[in-house]
Amino acid sequence: MLEIKNLTKKYGKKEALVNANIIFNKGIYGLLGPNGAGKSTMMNIIADILKPTSGGVLYDGQNIKQLKSRYRLKIGYLPQKVGYYGDFTAKQTLEYFAVLRGVEKNQMKERIDRMLAMVNLSENVNDKVRTFSGGMKQRLGIAVTMISEPEILIFDEPTVGLDPKERLNFRKLLKQISKERTVILSTHIVSDLNDIADYVLILKEGCVVENKKMDSESLEGLYLQYFGNDTEDICSE
């Protein structure tokens, strides 16, 4: 179980994240909010890239600061806009990240083949990444994120730059890989979360203003409630 407790991140005087408290169980968590809401900041802290100003991230009750690399074995993080290495083939890219993500040598070949099949890139195994389209790179990104079969998947704005068809394919793939995992997916596109998110978290100006299970209520309506009007004092103590 993943938990963020009293999480705050300040850059000088600017508060990027304010006193966030969330428990993540298994399922897909959609993190919704406009640009600058604090989504990437939260993702980077959960992925142990950024240090919080105060508060912390707990994995099964233990602070990830103490767990260090043992925690990073459990997560797979796909940041926004990854370009990869143009001269590497798909296979070499996965090999590289498989080593980085702690995949055992004797499991590597099987794992790479399986990941490429899962994202429909088996035929492109020896193609250089520079020849890939945006959608193919994103699928490769999923394969990279999944290569160590982590328990927690974190995707930061994964559909940016994809056309509608590729976004739909991505949602299907996400649904497939999210079984028995915690998936945290950030986006500012409401439709990305339709039909796939189990929970929705709405961030506004660094504050978690909504944290609920997805139900029949319109996600668009919920989003408009927070971003259609000016709302003051949204971060309550």
């Binding site: 890239i49 690399s69 990073r72 993080y77 001269d87 590497f88 070499q92 590289y96 160590s148």
Partner: protein, 392 residues
């Protein structure tokens, strides 16, 4: 295993491949240009002269006597006007005699130094006793010196000891390589991907720095290859196995090595210098996400340091086509600066010089290598702390 991918990232960059070609070509052209200026081509064919041929090869007093006798008996040939075959033959004998005398001088020098050291071992105490024991040990062994035609040994070392623009180009190449260690991850958007990985801290850092160090060694080897590629032009490839004392520059060298070993040692010393510079360049790059500012800083540091040490080393004077420099402030530069290892590694091998370290004589070359290796490790450790903390 990760280092091979880091190196692949570097070689995947077209700019790196272009720099390899430029460095190779430039080194070849520059060394050849230097060779052409100083080449002393001998035209007279002496293969039929049995006396002359018998004087070639391993030195002996008998050979020196034969040459001296010939020169003494035929000196009036040089008084004749104009050019003639006899004059040219006389010149060949005269050159060969000069070579033999040089060898005799070298042997005498070594014996004198060794004998003096032996006497001082008896009379001195403490550090100076140890110093002279070391001197005697280094100068006692006999070196096998051969009487050769021409100045091929000097030409070989002249080919190889080219600096200035060749070094500057290598330094620029190292700066380009440093872009592909950490900065490339920010450019590709892969920094967070790597940093959030299981091995994204210590392991990846060590592998990246290792790749950078291997590239620095490669730059040194590339520089050597480019400057010795045209060695066969000298026609004296066999002389690669002659003792370094057979060349003018290294006549007083205490090291029992041949010219080929000299080339290898200088390449290794230069590699250490390049490793220090590359460590500096990579360290600087850790503070930035884009290339422009670290490039400017590294150019200033790399080329600026080189310029300061070059001009601070005093006056440059040429002798027989080989450079001899007088140092104005060499002591600091020699030990603390990687530039000396890059620009003037062979200088450590010319003669015996030692430093008193806690009562023990340690050669300057050992001190310089130890200090520079320490700098590499220090920058590595500091860099790791910056890598962990800079972007958090």
């Amino acid at each position: 295993m990760l280092s091979k991918y880091e190196i692949k990232k570097i070689f995947g960059a077209k700019l790196v491949l272009v720099m390899i070609i430029i460095n190779l070509l430039f080194g070849v052209v520059y060394s050849y240009h230097d060779y052409i200026i100083h080449h002393n081509a001998t035209q007279t064919d002496m293969t039929g002269d049995k006396v002359y041929q018998s004087c070639l090869g391993n030195y002996s007093q008998e050979k020196l006597d034969i040459l001296q006798n010939y020169v003494a008996e035929n000196w009036e040939v040089m008084e004749r006007e104009g050019d003639s075959k006899d004059k040219r033959i006389y010149s060949k004998y005269s050159d060969l005699m000069a070579k033999a005398i040089n060898i005799s001088d070298v042997m005498q020098y070594r014996k004198t130094v060794s004998d003096n050291a032996g006497r001082l071992i008896e009379s001195e105490k403490g550090y100076y006793k140890k110093l002279n024991k070391k001197i005697k040990k280094m100068y006692s062994p006999e070196v096998s010196l051969k009487i050769r035609e021409g100045n091929v040994g000097d030409e070989i070392t002249g080919f190889f000891i080219v600096t200035g623009p060749v070094d500057a180009l290598s330094i620029i190449f190292l700066i380009v390589i440093s872009f592909y260690i950490f900065l490339v991850e920010h450019k590709n958007g892969t920094f967070e991907l790597i940093f959030s990985s299981f091995a994204g801290r210590g392991k990846i850092y060590i592998n990246k720095v290792t790749a950078a160090m291997l590239m620095a060694v490669m730059v040194s080897i590339l520089q050597t290859i480019s400057t010795v590629l045209l060695l066969p032009l000298t026609g004296g490839m066999n002389e690669l196995f002659d003792a370094v004392q057979s060349t003018a520059l290294f006549a007083k060298s205490p090291y029992n090595i041949n010219i080929l070993e000299l080339i290898i040692i200088v390449t290794l010393l230069r590699a250490i210098g390049y490793m220090v510079l590359e460590s500096i360049f990579v360290f600087v790059s850790l503070f930035f996400k884009r290339n422009i500012i670290p490039m400017a800083i590294n150019l200033l540091l790399g080329l600026g340091l080189y310029w300061i040490v070059y001009y601070g080393s005093g006056t440059y004077v040429t002798y027989s086509g080989v450079g001899i420099r007088r140092y104005a402030f060499h002591s600091i530069a020699k030990f603390l600066s990687p530039i000396e290892l890059i620009r003037y590694a062979e200088g450590y091998l010319w003669s015996f010089k030692a430093v008193n370290i806690a009562g023990y004589p340690v050669t300057e070359i050992t001190v310089a290598v130890c200090i520079n290796v320490f700098i590499i490790f220090l920058l590595g450790i500091l860099g790791y702390h910056v890598y962990l903390r800079r972007w958090r």
